[in-house]
Amino acid sequence: MSAEDNAFRELIDEYVVECLPLAERAADALVDLERRRRAGTGGDELLGPVKGWLHTVKGNSAMMGLTPIQESAHALEDLCAALAEHGGGDGAGMLALLVEGGGLLVDQVRGASRAGAVEGVAGWLTRAAAARGAATGNGKSADRRRAERRGGAEADGAPNVVRVDFRRLDTLLEVLGEGLIEQAAVAEAFRRVARRAGSTPGVPELDHAILALAKTMKRLEAVVMETRLLPISSVFGRFPRLLRGVAEGVGKRVRLETNGGETALDKAVLDRLGEPLLHLLTNAVVHGIETPVERRAAGKPEEGILRLGAVSRSGRVAIELSDDGRGLDERRILARAEELGLGSGGEDSEPHALIFQPGFTTAEQVSELAGRGVGLDVVAAAVRALGGTIAVRSRRGEGTAFLLDIPLTLAIVRSLIVEVDQERYAVPIAQVAATVRAEPQALHEINHRGVALWRGGLIQVTDGGALLGTGGQSERGRRFYVVISSGGRRRGILVDRLIGHQDVVVKGLDPALGRPDVVSGTTILGDGRVACILDPVRILEQRVPA
């Protein structure tokens, strides 16, 4: 919340009345401190009161939404702490920085009721952070440790960091997206012109220029996507505390080990990943891990272990969440599935995957914690909404592991553009295993369903027109099929043409379009036409129509 829409903004004058004297006292004391330190006549007793005044200014500024002042006060507190840890000596020019910072703080507080920043503050903050880092090396003050435990959101200590409202990054991405669309349009228009203009002077140069533009846009895209990346530890960070509460509530002892926290994901994905992960972890504590008594009887240490790890692999992140608890009871799952009328899950799925169906819980005790009305089907839906997949592995008595596969970003998807019945569709490359020429002799029909021999095995093949509702098979027969693959399943989709590869900007599905099963979003192609983006994960989950 900014200062303008802060709830207490009308108290700005009272703020200045309280904080200006404090800031001035602190600034004066810091000048005093510097003089006495240089003269060798002590002065350290001043640090205590100074920190107190700075702390009050910081707290008040935070309440008023005056973030720049809060940051300055915080940085000054940090420098004071570093100075105190250092004992004698100048401590990396810190005294000078403190004096400078004190003066700036006074200016900031004095001008708090006016808009606009005080000149020099940004530069000072950078230098202060650098001095702090240099002076203490690996040592951390209590404040820093606290800030890091709070979730690492305050990266003040790191040099060369700026704070940017994430909405600006969204805008940046939107504009980049438009740029990508326009660049594709230019390339397309040029292709058409070039077909007729051939080797007219200027055409080869234009070709080069367009190619160079495409390369630059790709680089720009990579840079923009990078600015949106945050380490997954920002999500992992709050789990230990939350899980401790859950564990205590159900009388269990649990330890959470994480690794791969530095794995980076787009913030938009991270924002929606926390909840599903937390549900899985909570379920593991409540249902997966046994009570200390049961564990002792099973020869396991009383403290259960939850492991949460992330690793990135070419555009996607694999997250594994495992416990060493009791594992899934296959018999109970199958029994419950029968109760719910779910059958046994289909040709190529295991019984364990049934737990992702709605209405599933075999837990006797529906505790208040895990039974917040959220089942694993909600988790699976959330993961799918991110364009990801979830699978489960389990061994009775040994534990359960959930495997999530999430794309790095939601916003731009490298896609294969295909054409079916004169409509174009984008298929995310991440789920395209291959594109194959459809030789009539390689296509067969078994039990009214199309199949093809591919890489030594049989896969089901569906007509693209039938899947997308644009009509039956064209008389000539489709010329290609695209093998889509996800979570161990594969299927071929028959299409008329393969148009090419493109980075498409994903635009969500307007609610007016309902909830299609086969399409996850829309995008605008280079020629200005709208194309639907296929959802291979959902397509693979469906039974093949006869």
Binding site: E178, I181, E423, R424, L467, L468, G469, T470, K507, D510, P511, A512, L513, G514, R515, P516, D517, V518, V519, T522, I524, G528, R529, V530, A531, C532
Partner: protein, 165 residues
């Protein structure tokens, strides 16, 4: 602006033209044709009128959604107004247009055969449609206005654009 005027402006936005008991005695409409009949919708709900470009089909979209089109980089769903009103789907001609409207907090396009004009009509020329014309499915019918040269069918936009029932 006075409170009364603000409240009236809100009412105009929320209700169909025939329901408003207003100090102002006129309705401001955008009129268009489907088949041989003329229809009208409140001008305040119309963002713009555009020519028909490419309309991309969306698989499994609700009935009456013909598809989506590119509106200056934004994806605009296009409603097949004819089928929503019980007529056969449109055959596109050079006079076809998309009337871009606001409904339920979003923008939606209405595919029409041709756009006539933006016009004002006196409120007292509006009357409810006759009993036997009004069937339960025709929830989109807000009323009928007698004009010197034709009959104008007034549409309840919110009902028309409520596509999931």
């Amino acid at each position: 602006m006075s409170d009364a005027l603000l409240r009236f402006a809100d009412e105009l936005g929320a209700a169909g033209p025939a329901e408003v008991a207003a100090p102002v005695a006129e309705l401001h409409l955008v009129t268009f044709t489907l088949d041989r009949e003329a229809y009208g919708v409140p001008v305040q709900r119309v963002r713009e009128v555009i020519r028909v470009g490419e309309i991309t089909r969306v698989p499994q979209a609700p009935e009456h959604v013909r598809g989506v089109t590119n509106l200056r980089g934004r994806i605009l769903p296009v409603v097949e107004l004819r089928s929503r009103l019980g007529l056969t789907p449109a055959v596109l001609t050079p006079r076809s247009r998309i009337v871009v409207t606001e409904a339920h907090g979003r923008i939606l396009g209405l595919l029409v055969d041709a756009v006539l004009q933006v016009t004002r009509i006196p409120a007292d020329t509006v009357q409810p449609a006759p009993e036997d014309i009004r069937t339960p499915e025709a929830d989109w019918l807000a009323g009928v206005a007698r004009r010197p040269d034709r009959l104008l069918i007034l549409l309840d936009l919110d009902a028309v654009l409520l596509l999931q029932r």
